[in-house]
């Protein structure tokens, strides 16, 4: 068990190093930082002096080492565009994106799993067919179209919900949250649904497929033959056994939700990391782009580590085998 976690941690370190290397390469190969930072009136000699001072003439390995070292100490450098420290800029934006992502995830789980179970248990029902059809339409339409349609219906036509921004937010120890005001929730609803629809469909279909598979297994038939109450049979025996593959996909997808909230954030002008990333691309703000890359990779690694631990929690067969 300890061995397993250690192995995973070591793997994670390598993944993070690889991503840091990619982020670092951005500086090296996408444009010249000195021309980005100085104007036309800076002389070539001054440029060279600056280059030397910033250590850009040092060997590649040394520069990469310095970059990684700074990162580890929380020093992410400065934005070319706003001259602010990148760490601050990202820290300002993380709460918005995380809240959006987590609410989207919860929506997808709380709707997707029950819907998956329902459609698996009544594979021929009319409700099942309707659900399957609508969700199929749901994934076929691109996210931004869904977002625009939701804005049009609930924001413009009905006027029930705001169409942009985070609404009212509350500061809690440096974390700007919109989860504690009605306005905040109203603003969160549409973007979270937009972001969660794809994940919801995926979760539902996966739960359905796994559940139908599990319902055919011998241990379910044996539980049936023992007269275990149906409710227990479906939710305790069958659902738990579908969870391992479902969690894998949900975990991978959640990383994706955080990473690709870019589209949703831009449709709803949601002030999260995705929007920041888009702005940074427009101004070739390489430090912010690099750090964004590293932060997203960190989320992926973290989520997958949690997924691995969840496996062990769910499935006793993965725990250390007892000596019989």
């Amino acid at each position: 068990m300890v061995y397993f976690i250690l192995k995973r941690l070591v793997q994670s370190v390598f993944v993070m190093l690889a991503v840091a290397f990619l982020a670092f390469s951005l500086f090296r190969f996408v444009g010249d930082p000195i021309t980005q930072m100085t104007g036309v009136e800076t002389s070539v000699a001054d440029q060279e002096r600056l280059r030397d001072e910033l250590g850009l003439n040092d060997p590649f390995i040394l520069q990469f080492g310095r970059f990684t070292g700074d990162m580890l100490q929380g020093d992410f450098g400065f934005s070319y565009r706003t001259r602010q420290p990148v760490a601050e800029m990202i820290a300002d934006r993380i709460p918005a994106t995380l809240e959006l992502g987590i609410v989207a995830l919860l929506i997808s789980l709380f709707v997707g799993i029950p819907a998956g179970v329902y459609t698996a248990l009544r594979p021929r029902g009319i409700a099942t067919q309707t659900i399957l059809m609508t969700t199929l339409v749901g994934v076929s339409i691109p996210t931004f179209v869904i977002g625009i349609m939701l804005i049009f219906i609930f924001g413009v036509q009905l006027g029930w919900l705001p169409t942009f921004g985070r609404g009212g937010t509350v500061q809690i120890g440096g974390w700007e949250s919109s989860l504690f005001t009605v306005e905040g929730w109203r603003a969160l609803l549409l973007p979270a649904i937009t972001l969660g629809v794809y994940q919801l469909t995926l979760t539902m279909r996966l739960v359905r497929a796994e559940m139908m598979e599990v319902m055919r297994t011998d241990y379910i038939r044996f539980a049936m033959a023992r007269g275990v109450p149906m409710q227990k049979l479906h939710y305790k025996h069958a659902l738990a056994n579908t969870m391992v593959p479902v969690i894998t996909i949900i975990g991978l997808q959640f990383g994706g939700v955080i990473a690709f909230s870019i589209v949703t954030e831009s449709v709803f002008q949601w002030p999260g990391m995705g929007l920041l990333f888009l702005e940074s691309i427009r101004f070739v703000d390489i430090p912010v782009m690099g750090v964004y890359l590293v932060v997203i990779a960190f989320f992926f690694v973290l989520v997958n580590l949690i997924v691995d631990l969840l496996y062990v929690a769910i499935d006793p067969r993965l725990r250390v085998r007892d000596v019989q």
């Binding site: 250690l6 011998d218 241990y219 044996f222 023992r226 007269g227 149906m230 499935d315 085998r321």
Partner: protein, 567 residues
Amino acid sequence: MLTITDLAVKFPSRFGDFTAIEDVDMVIKPGEIHGLVGESGAGKSTVGAAVIGLLQSPGYIAHGSLTLGDTDLRTLTPEQAHAVRGDRISMIFQDPQTSLNPLMTIEDQLIETIQAHADVSTAAARQRAVDLLEEIGIKNAAERIKAYPHQFSGGMRQRVVIALAICTDPELIIADEPTTALDVAVQSQVLKLIQRLAKDRKIAFMLITHDIGVIAQVADRVTVMRKGRVMETGETAQVLGAPRHPYTRALMDAVPPLDYRIDRFRVPQEEGADFERSLGQKAEDWLLAGVQGAPTGLTLQNLYVRFAGPRTSLFRKPEPYVALNDVSLTVRPGSIMGLVGESGSGKSTLAKAITGLVKPSDGTMILGDEVLPGGKARDRHHPSRQLVQMVFQDPYSSLNSRHRIGAVLEEPLWFYGFVKDADQRKELAASMLALVGMQPDAIDKYPHQFSGGQRQRIAVARALLARPRFLICDEPTSALDVSIQAEILNLLKDLQAKFGLTILFISHNLTVVRQMADDTAVLRNGKIEEIGKTEDVYERPQAAYTKSLLALTPVMQRASFAVAAHD
């Protein structure tokens, strides 16, 4: 008391209703073990599923009546039927590996089942569960009950399954092949347990099995089924000792005896015997042309295979798991060596080492007079890759389902460069099919269009088309019915005699090995316990382990039954 009268089950399909079982009558009294035998597809399991109300959709009961005590099982609502399940009727499944929920402890599954049918506290339910496990022969039950299914061995798991089936004191238990997946030693323990439960608790058992030896050992009465109909029913001694129906008689004949050797297996109805055998002449000539010279033997000297074991500590190297431990044996050229042992004894590992799929950690393998390199050290073009061929256990998964039989059979011909011309390859493959007793037109069909026995014939044909000198048969008939088994074994015997093949015949079935093998080796935990002439091993076993295996093998002693029937 269970009474089945005139039962029929149908499965609707596009082509009209398919009748799975028809005119089935059966009575099982309390405390009686009622055997239900028949070959696969006879509808045995359908009878059990109909009684417990778990017919696979879309099957339905067309007519007939099912009564348990004075309850008419057919008039129950789905909720009432579900309440009866477990409470009055329970079931034991074939494979203890898959019939327990892997994510719940034994305790949770037992308590849950007890509480589903009786209004008792969790503590009382736990006590009852522990008592039950003790009664069923699980030592230290109070401790072991907290374990998960995977922490029990196969036999213990089947005991847990039985505990789950009887924890609610049912009147009837349907046991669907309860010992088929178990080794003989465990099988005999489980059968004894079933007998004891029937006697002490007056539970009625419907024992569904294809193994007539099992029926002979425990059943009070027996019903023989074929193609969904009851052929014969009566006292076990009468049905097995003096069968009235010709089918029952044929079925009894196909069971090979353990205590003496017969020349050929008796086959109830030779299938596909009505066509021209001469079609196989071409393949026969081709094989004989390729296999001239003396047969090839195999010698293993001090063979070891070790696998990495589970890691127990972060810093220590894992202890190796020894799959084969100092195995030495000689398969004489042109003979059949039988290899018997329980599951996990290393039989299949031995086959893999010989075929080069597993690398031995130590020891030498000599085929003919050439040393065989082990594992990946044996390159693709090494002659032994062609000379040694294999017939696998499960004919359902050993043929590529997306290839036509023709493609499957022609592959060795071009792969080993025997026949360059495509038309000739096809002709030879068709002829080989005839040689193994199949219609040559099978060549354009797909594997799923054939029965298990036919597929195993195809697998034999494929092995022969590589012109092998040494054939490894790994449990070639354990997935087949007795009558089909007899056919395949006769075929192997004929081919072996005709082409001077050397065969390593792996099986857990001692009766089959007795009939097939010239020499027999007994393997246990990777070690050879005993090796010698088959007659000696069976008549005068030296090792205690061999003696116990022989004693535990269920035998159908027709003679003694015949006497009993006359009494």
